[in-house]
Amino acid sequence: MHAIFLRGILAAFVAFSGSAATGAAADELIGDAERGAKVFEKCKSCHAVGPDARHKVGPHLNGVFGRKAAGLGDFDYSRAMRRAGADGLVWTIEKLEAYLENPKVLVTGTNMRFRGLKDKQDRLDVMAYLRQFSDRPRDIPEAEPTAITEEVRLSDDILNIEGDPDYGEYLSSECMTCHQTDGDDEGIPSIVGWPTEDFVIAMHAYKQKVRPHPVMQMMAGRLGNEEIAALAAYFSALN
């Protein structure tokens, strides 16, 4: 049902708009949770998940995303895992993927006797399955992501709209929740009427995390070069 309806919507996009966003590489969910449940068969001899999960040979894996390694007080971890946790290892998507690919590479002295999952898709799918048993971002906004970030890459159609005022305007609508169009700068600086070059430099400094500030690093982090250019053009023209 949903799938069919969605396809209908996507078709409508193409029909409605000359240069539709068909080529945009949207960020992907970590993997396929249903397939992941099957991959988890390989872990089941040692790990449990779900409402009644208890420790087995390995710790239960409820709430593992965003948790510090060796973070459960009532499980007897290896010294190596406890040290990794104390050093700041937290189970993010990236760290878990590395551990599941080859446990010994990330935590050399771990006593998880498992060779690892060589197939990347298996790792992504089992993570998608496990992700369901951790905090949901809807309820706890700081919970770990459920999708993997990709550099925003757009189709040629979209790339050609560099400096396109419509695109700049659409992208800018997200900025106007904080920065005001009229250039008021109470608490948050004004960004209207800047020379485009200064604007581009400031945005890249946030994107590359040279300039500190978590909000702006995050906002700039997912903008491509063309998008920053379109925004610079749009804001420089506002006065």
Binding site: L6, I9, E28, T146, Y167, Y170, E174, T177
Partner: protein, 420 residues
């Protein structure tokens, strides 16, 4: 002139090129009806009207003439804002953007005829309908409480007179009295909202009534920014605040509004103020429209269209979309994606990939602000979180002050983005 021509051409191209276009030629301008003039609805109405420059006929249906933002209503409780400073009216949306603002309730939706009926008797036809009605409470969620008890035991989870009432009750507490909050189960509007409220109540009590106590009964084992709140409560308010999670019976609660008692896990507590925040569901009009699945209205993140009726877009707290928390920032962000998609569908403007973001600031005490934020993208299944950040425990006072000041800037920004 040039703009009009472009909009006109856009419309024709859109019509000619699309097979599934619901538009009818010769009926004049396409019509968008927006139900609910809050964070989602006001933003969507303004962006559609502003972007289409008159090519789309926009009607906004909202019963109240003054909208009090829930965001910063906790700061009003804490004495950091006045009530007037969180009040907004719809004058500019009508005068500067040509939006037809109708102060009435939507009471029914005929999805086949594509009309909205209003309490006053009018019927509004639409080509696209936006529903952003916010939340209502789940009946029977807290035993002993229903909306008829809201004057004795206010929720103050829709801002305005309820917030005023709660503030008056807190200020009238006897020396050494007890303020009790019944916190809601997930999902609910503004995940850090109840805990920011507790911080603000504590701030007031510390000054006026320092021996008073705050008791929170919570059905959840964990809440947003928990470590930050707990650190802030310890730093600012010593032992004033007691939080009872489900391990301590916080999920087994009953209230009695006549006796002013709260029974937690069988133990009766006499309280002076009882702030009941019940479980929530989508604003009732979504149910009446028949677009809910359970308590919420599922949507696709690409366009915010209902999964049940593609002529309806649902925004903000009322929709089930995936990873975004129910917040004013989220509703505002979703409104812009919907506005873009609707303009593309009705007048053939360009369709860009959906991007969303959210940041929730919370005030712990004077000049002590914290925040949590994330960016999201639409996948076919849901709106998915891709990146984020959160304030850290132990941050410097300067950073916390800057964070609070940022939230003031955000408030000015989002309200001018909603109301012009």
């Amino acid at each position: 002139m040039a703009l009009n021509r472009r909009a006109f051409l856009g419309t024709t191209v859109g019509l000619a090129a699309s097979l599934s276009a619901p538009m009818v030629l010769g009926q004049g301008k396409p019509r968008v009806v927006v139900v609910g003039g809050g964070a989602g609805g006001a933003t969507a109405a303004r962006h559609i009207a502003k972007g289409s420059k008159g090519a789309i006929d926009v009607t906004l249906v909202e019963p109240t003439r003054t909208y009090y933002t829930c965001f910063f209503s906790n700061l009003y409780l804490g004495g950091f804002r006045t009530l007037e400073s969180i009040a907004h009216t719809y004058g500019k949306l009508a005068s500067d953007y040509g939006i037809n603002v109708v102060h009435d309730w939507a009471v029914g939706i005929d999805r086949d005829a594509k009309t909205v009926s209003l309490a006053g008797g009018a019927k509004l036809p639409y080509d696209r309908l936006i529903l952003s009605p916010g939340i209502d409470f789940v009946d029977g969620a807290v035993p002993g409480w229903d909306v008829t008890k809201q004057n004795r035991m206010p929720h103050a989870y829709k801002a305005g007179s309820q917030t005023e009432l709660l503030k008056a009750q807190i200020e009238a507490m006897p020396e050494g009295g007890v303020y009790c909050m019944i916190a809601p189960p997930n999902p609910y509007r503004c995940p850090p909202g109840p805990y920011e409220r507790v911080s603000m109540v504590a701030h007031v009590l510390k000054q006026r009534n320092p021996t008073a106590k705050i008791l929170i009964a919570d059905p959840k084992p964990k809440f947003s920014k928990m470590a930050l709140f707990q650190e802030g409560w310890q730093n600012h308010y010593g032992g004033m605040i007691e939080w009872l999670g489900p391990d301590f019976g916080g999920d087994k609660v009953e209230v009695n509004a006549d006796e002013m008692t709260v029974t937690i896990d069988g133990e009766v507590n006499k309280v002076d103020v009882c702030n009941v925040i019940p479980a929530m569901k989508a604003g009732r009009i979504c149910e009446l429209a028949g677009i809910n699945d359970g308590n919420w209205a599922p949507v696709t993140g690409h366009t915010m269209q209902s999964r049940i009726d593609e002529n309806i877009h649902v925004l903000g707290d009322a929709c089930a979309q995936g990873d975004m928390p129910k917040s004013g920032f989220s509703a505002n962000s979703q409104a812009k994606v919907a506005a873009m998609a609707i303009r593309a569908a009705l007048t053939g403007t360009k369709q860009f990939p959906a991007k969303f973001s959210n940041t929730c600031w919370s005030l712990l005490g004077t000049d002590d602000g914290v925040k949590v934020g994330a960016t999201y993208e639409a996948t076919d299944e849901k709106i998915a979180k891709v990146d984020g950040f959160i304030s850290q425990t132990g941050e410097s006072a300067d950073l916390r002050k800057a964070t609070y000041e940022e939230s003031l800037g955000w408030y000015a920004g989002i309200t001018s983005d909603m109301f012009g």
